[in-house]
Symmetry: C4
Subunit: 233 residues, 4 copies
């Protein structure tokens, strides 16, 4: 069932590997079929080397396995919270990519320091609150999803399709599994650039490098997104 | 038309990708035929994987599409300003390469800290002024070109074939599309080295690492450029 | 003899090279056959390019060569101390990977700043004491092993399967040669992330970035390890 | 003539490229035949892609071209000073590799912070003095060689087979062209590690990270070099 979705989810997982964002068996991507409410997700802890579409696991929005012989990603419940709360998204990706994870470890939101960021994200990437002891001991992956949703309050998920989970790493999403992975790629790139730029700032004696203004932010985001976009074909 | 130019522009765009300066569909290179005043430029937002010479778009210096089925790069107007104001150049390249962009995000000119820089650029790489709200809301890409030209005032474009656009990233140029790309490669390399070197400086207690002197700068630049050059064959 | 072990040890050494943790002839991996008490180890200073299983050297736990035409790794005695003191381990790996070695050079233990670390290591990675002049002039590689065992006092070697040897570099281990190499890969990754994260911390004015709490540490480690693990197949 | 030497010099140049130490046409390696006093060196500014042994240029120790259709490397005179002053060396390499060049740009000698450095270099890598205006305007490449020889005063060139030329970059050498390149590879690696380690030091509040002691330095260097070496086959 859902052969095309499984193929796209498998391909998006492999793209995660090819783009250098994950090592070993790390990371996971899923995609949703909104008609049936079913999600295809990478199996837990399997090698990317011989991953094929038929290995993807189909689960429903409550997390029950509907098809597949393998156990789904241990981060499954986090993905499902996002699909339930963000009805406009079609895919979710999770990595431990180096720079995005470093910002997450420092529990800092990622400021928008330039047009590379603005082209893809309409403002700062938020960081979640740390989970409480109780949340950690409860349904941990579900609580992680809830913390992400809270960090996104008041934001449009397709304008800010990424979040940093405190002490953990990034989750990204998009209108498709492939778009979710592309946002992971861009997030890692801008996380590195922001880190490098902040190290430069002290030369002028400023304490903080300032994020770019709203006008430049919007100019670039809206060049690529929305009805007046004029980037691409 | 202009088959040879389109082939060279396509190849220069592919070199941008191969050299690791761009990811996804980022970056763009163009080249000009000075006899006809026509420019070949990468189409906007297309994949590098199957890019071919016939995809290049031909535009005139006012930006009208003369040939090509795809929309030209959204940065087209910036390229055109440079061709109009710098009659000695034959190609323009734009990337969001990591270190050059980091300096641009910090709005800092790139100092010449060594012979690697001096071999290719005769002095500091300037940074543009930030665009005003009015410029951002006007013909943005045209205004970006104007800001570059202003930042280059008093400089020879073939001696300083690069600029950092504030909060954005680098533009480079050269006597051909390939030379423009080569300058992007060197700029990224020296931007990284300068960043690493500046982090070392505090060991001696100096506040700032000093740029090299004019004599060493000129010695190296003129080894490779101009009538007394003796580098190469 | 021990053909299967030699094949696995050879493959683990090659994986060290493929994963980019070693250059030239650096690094070494060994594996033990607990029934016979014999260890297969990489020969000293040989090229990875044409390394084959039959090149692995078999030594006993006192370091005597039992089979093989080449000289065993000069770090042999360090490996053997670990096999004698940690009966639960099956493989040992040693690299000079960039970030892990940088922490070792600074003689700092590696704090656990996030779940990437916690997934694989149950707490801080210890650093050994520096060797005394007497230890350096005695059986140096044996003394290195002793220093590692001391640094691990009170720790479960399969919960903290890595150590930083002061002024030198990392040793890792696991229940197999492949697991030892995987721990080297993860250690390098988290050493880099921790380094990047610590540079970010000063933005908030804190002097030190704080390690994550015990609950998050245990939650992640026990998701992947022990009887209640639910990561993987 | 000297076909074998030209083949080895060509191969060593290609290894420079493969190891990622040079981009474009940067870098150069030479080798000497001590019997004839003739040196084979890379031609100036040629592409690595189709470099072949017959392209190597043969020069005598005064710099006169003895064989070859191309112009020799513009750094030829620096190489020749080294061959004349260090009779024990057989090859010289020059790169602008990122970290070694960054230290050179900061005009700092590279301290020995660990065994990776000590395995290959018996102590700190010296940095030359800056050239005077007069030296820059004279025989620049010859003066660079003289500055290197001065920086090496009192040091054994095969114990410290590398130097950082102030504001420029590294030169390395060895008993063969291949050994010279290997020393360039190791130098870049330890230059990066030292840079990373120094950034860590401030955590303990120390102003400077201290180099390792003489005993550990000698232990490691002499494990690999000299009559009591026991590393390798």
């Amino acid at each position: 069932m859902l052969e095309e979705l499984k193929a796209r989810v498998c391909e998006a997982n492999l793209e995660l590997k090819r783009s250098g964002l994950v090592i070993l068996t790390w990371g996971n991507v899923s995609g949703i079929d909104r008609d049936s409410g079913l999600v295809a997700i990478k199996p837990s802890g399997v090698s990317y080397e011989d991953m094929r579409p038929e290995h993807m696991v189909i689960v429903d929005l409550e997390g029950r396995v509907v098809e597949g012989e393998m156990r789904p990603s241990s981060d499954k419940l986090t993905h499902l919270v996002l699909y339930r709360d963000f009805p406009e998204i079609g895919g979710v990706a999770h990595t431990h990519s180096t720079y995005a994870t470093a910002w997450a470890q420092a529990c800092r939101p990622l400021p928008c320091y330039g047009t590379t960021h603005a082209d893809n994200f309409r403002g700062e990437i938020p960081v979640t609150k740390r989970l409480s002891k109780k949340q950690l001991q409860g349904q941990y992956e579900f609580e992680t999803g809830v913390a992400i949703v809270r960090a996104m309050e008041g934001l449009d998920p397709l304008h800010i399709p990424a979040v940093l989970v405190a002490n953990h790493g990034p989750f990204t999403w998009g209108d498709s599994p492939g778009a979710a992975v592309e946002n992971s790629i861009v997030l890692e790139q801008v996380a590195e650039m922001a880190w490098v730029s902040e190290r430069l700032r002290t030369v002028y004696g400023d304490r903080f490098l300032k994020p770019i203004g709203r006008e430049l932010q919007d100019k670039h985001f809206l060049r690529k997104h929305g009805k007046d976009a004029y980037y691409g074909q």
